[in-house]
Amino acid sequence: MTALTPEEWQVLVLSLKVSGVAMAAALPLAFVLAWVLARWRFPGKVLLDALVHLPLVLPPVVTGWLLLIAFGTNGPLGRFLAEWLGLTFIFRWTGAALAAAVMALPLMVRAMRLSIEAVDRRLESAARTLGAGRWRTFASVTLPLAMPGVLAGLVLGLARSIGEFGATITFASNIPGETQTLPLAIYSALQMPGSEWQVTRLAVLSILVSVVALMASEWLARRSGQGSAHHAL
């Protein structure tokens, strides 16, 4: 495979930017949602659970359309964010990132919720009697024990966001250099006759990105010490 063309570079960099921003935004939100669903009891919890899972079960086109209604120029959230934060989403890379984040969220919440539920709360009470306040207990006991699930959620979310197609093309459209991520570029190339070589190059690129992301997450898991702890157990 020869070096990348400027167009391919553009697609690659944009894809990484979109997925990176999507993960940075979705990670804290997913963790908070996972925590609330795992630990809190409140009326309407079933509803929140269903809402979080919606992008997982809806056709992505429908999710994209819902995003269009909510975050469009005249949508309630879209207008609010444009006025107060100067954030616009339609036909912009930020829209692609939003779509990727929304589609990745349910997978991330599921993995993290399971791992938070699996943390033995008796260990937390032990930490409290040893002098740790709530935050210290969270940081030194709960979070490290839940970390494998957090990382698993991150990997699932990243994979989902890199591959996101339906909601992105519906909501943010397919604009080269702005919202055309790898899957969208492959789709566009497929539409042109005689572009098999281009499609192949983009597909290989996409495989490479996924493999590197997977290896990076494996490295992260090892570095956090959880890998070895789990083998020991």
């Binding site: 033995d120 008796r122 009470s125 032990a126 009697t129 002098g131 740790a132 024990l145 010490g225």
Partner: protein
């Protein structure tokens, strides 16, 4: 007065009343059959369960007083709680388990350092191990060490021989006797074993 407890605990419809005071020195055993609520009482003293009525005082410090609306958080009570199920942190080495409370205690409240604890309990060779690789007796000694190193003002021990096999009982009993005799620390000791209580306790409270 080491322990001055008069509380009511509610578990569903069940109502449990406890009232006792202890004299200075030695080990006080809470003796009674399984399911009598002994662990619930220790949890309440540690601040892990909230009584519906009453007061808890240890060494003339009020830990809980319903009438005066005092309810110290567990981390403020300075209690060394040796749990029946040990609750060692599985993701930390033995060293980090032992030093967990020690690091959190202000320096002037620490009255034991790591080396002393290791010698006292004979666990110096275990420092780099993970709790999952320890035997019952070893894990029990680490749990006791972790509680002592946190600089507690009193000890709560919940059936510390429960997870120890018969050959190791003597070892742990000796450790507890040394804590009782050398450390001038008020100890509440929960057990359902008469022989154990007769050997260790300066006084017995039936639950």
């Amino acid at each position: 007065m080491p322990f001055d407890v008069a509380i009511t605990l509610r578990r569903g419809k069940l109502r449990l009343d406890y009232a006792f005071r202890t004299e200075k020195g030695g080990l006080t055993a809470l003796f009674g059959p399984s399911g009598a609520g002994k662990t619930s009482l220790l949890d309440a003293i540690a601040g892990l369960a909230r009584p519906s009525e009453g007061h808890i005082m240890v060494e003339d410090t009020v830990l809980f007083d319903k009438a005066r609306r005092i309810d110290l958080k567990p981390e403020q009570r300075r209690c060394g709680y040796v749990f029946q199920d040990l609750r060692l942190f599985p993701h930390k080495s033995v060293r980090d388990n032992l030093l967990y409370g020690w690091h959190l205690a202000p320096p002037d409240r620490r009255w034991m350092d790591l080396d002393t604890a290791l010698g006292f309990l004979g666990i110096g060779h275990l420092l780099d191990r993970r709790p999952a690789t320890l035997s019952g007796g070893e894990a029990q000694r680490v749990a006791i060490g972790r509680a002592l190193l946190s600089g507690p003002r009193f000890l709560l021990m919940d059936e510390p021989l429960a997870s120890v096999d018969a050959e190791r009982r003597e070892e742990i009993l000796t450790v507890i006797e040394r804590i009782r005799d050398e450390l001038a620390l008020p100890i509440l000791y929960v057990s359902h074993d008469r022989a154990e209580v007769d050997r260790l306790a300066s006084r017995v409270i039936a639950i």
